[in-house]
Amino acid sequence: MHSNSFHCSLSLSLYSSTMDRAHSRRHVASMKQSLFDQGYLDEQFIQLEELQDEANPNFVEEIVTLYYRDSSRLISNLENTLERKPLDFNKLDTIMHQFKGSSSSIGAKKVKAECTLFREYCSAGNAEGCRRSFQQMKKEYAALRKKLETYFHLARQAGPLETAFRPK
C-alpha cells in the first residue's frame, strides 16, 4: 500500500515535471518564432543551433556572448571616428565592414540591415545619414541583446532537447 502510493506520487511528479518541461519548450519555441517573425534573426541563427550537440550544448549562447563582448570595441571605435571632423568615411566603412560581418555570422538580421545602410551612407559621403543609421543600429543591437538574453534563459530552463527546429 505504501509502495503503491509512493509509486503513484513519483509518477505524478514525473508527469508534472515532464508537463512543465513540455510547456517550457513550447514557450521557447514560440519566443523563437516571434524573433524570426519580427525580423530580429535570420536563417544563420538556425545554422548555429545545428552546430550544438551534447559536447557543445551552449555554443549559440557562447558565440552570441562573444559577439557582444567583441563588437563593443568596434562600436566604441565607430563612436570615436564619428566625432572627428571631417568624417573619415573610409575608416568608418572599414570598421563597419567588420561589425557587419560578425553580426551576419550570428544571424542578427536587423543589425546587419542597419550596417548595410550605414555603409551606403559612407559611400555617398553622407555624414548625417551615417550618424542617424549608427544611432538606429545601436538601438537594434541593444534590443536584440535583451531578447536573446531572455531566450537563452528560457532555453536553459527548458532543458537540452533539440531547439534547432525551423520556425514556420
Binding site: 552546430l51 557587419k100 560581418g101 551576419s104 555570422s105 550570428i106
Partner: protein
C-alpha cells in the same frame, strides 16, 4: 600492406574576426576535422614553416626561405579581407612555395564580387565560400582533401616499393 590512417585531416583556418574564427572552428570540428585557427596570414605562414626574410640583401625580396614544416596541414581555409596580408596574398605565397603549393586552399568572403572570386580560383584556390560559411560548404571540403591524400598515398606506395626492392637485394 599499408594500413589506412584514420587520423583526422588537419585544417588551418585564418581569419582576423574572433567571431568568425569561433564559427569556422566549430563548423570544422563538427565535421570531424582537427583545427588550428590563427588571426593573420603571417601567423599562418609561420605555422606552415614558411619564413620570409626581408633582411637578406643578396636575394630579391620576393624569395622566401623555406624551412622544414613541423606540423602537417591538409587544407587551408582563409578569409579574404584581412589587414596587412589579404587571403589572396596568402594564397599566392602558398602557391609559390615548393613545399606548400599542393595544399588545397579555400577562400571565404562576406562580399560577393565575381572578379574577386574568379581571381582567387584562377590563382589556385580550390573553393570560394560566401560568408557566413555553413555546414553545407564545409561538406564540400572532403573531396579536395581526399584528392591530396590519394596523391600522398601514391608517393608513399612508390617509396615503399623502392624500399622493398632495396631490402631484397641487400640481405642482412
Amino acid at each position: 600492406m599499408g594500413i589506412a590512417s584514420e587520423a583526422p585531416f588537419h585544417v588551418l583556418a585564418v581569419d582576423d574576426s574572433l567571431i568568425d574564427r569561433m564559427l569556422i572552428e566549430r563548423l570544422l570540428k563538427t565535421s570531424s576535422f582537427h583545427v588550428t585557427a590563427v588571426d593573420s596570414g603571417s601567423k599562418a605562414l609561420k605555422l606552415l614553416g614558411l619564413i620570409e626574410d626581408e633582411q637578406r640583401n643578396e636575394e630579391p625580396p620576393s624569395i622566401s626561405l623555406e624551412a622544414h614544416q613541423d606540423i602537417e596541414v591538409n587544407l587551408i581555409i582563409t578569409d579574404y579581407c584581412m589587414p596587412e596580408m589579404t587571403g589572396y596574398d596568402l594564397l599566392r605565397k602558398i602557391k609559390e612555395s615548393r613545399s606548400l603549393k599542393d595544399i588545397p586552399v579555400v577562400i571565404m568572403s562576406s562580399e560577393n564580387v565575381p572578379s574577386r572570386i574568379n581571381r582567387c580560383l584562377e590563382n589556385g584556390a580550390d573553393e570560394f565560400f560566401l560568408k557566413p560559411v555553413q555546414l553545407s560548404d564545409v561538406n564540400k571540403l572532403r573531396p579536395h582533401l581526399l584528392k591530396s591524400k590519394v596523391k600522398d598515398e601514391e608517393h608513399r606506395k612508390i617509396n615503399n616499393k623502392t624500399r622493398e626492392l632495396t631490402e631484397i637485394h641487400s640481405p642482412r
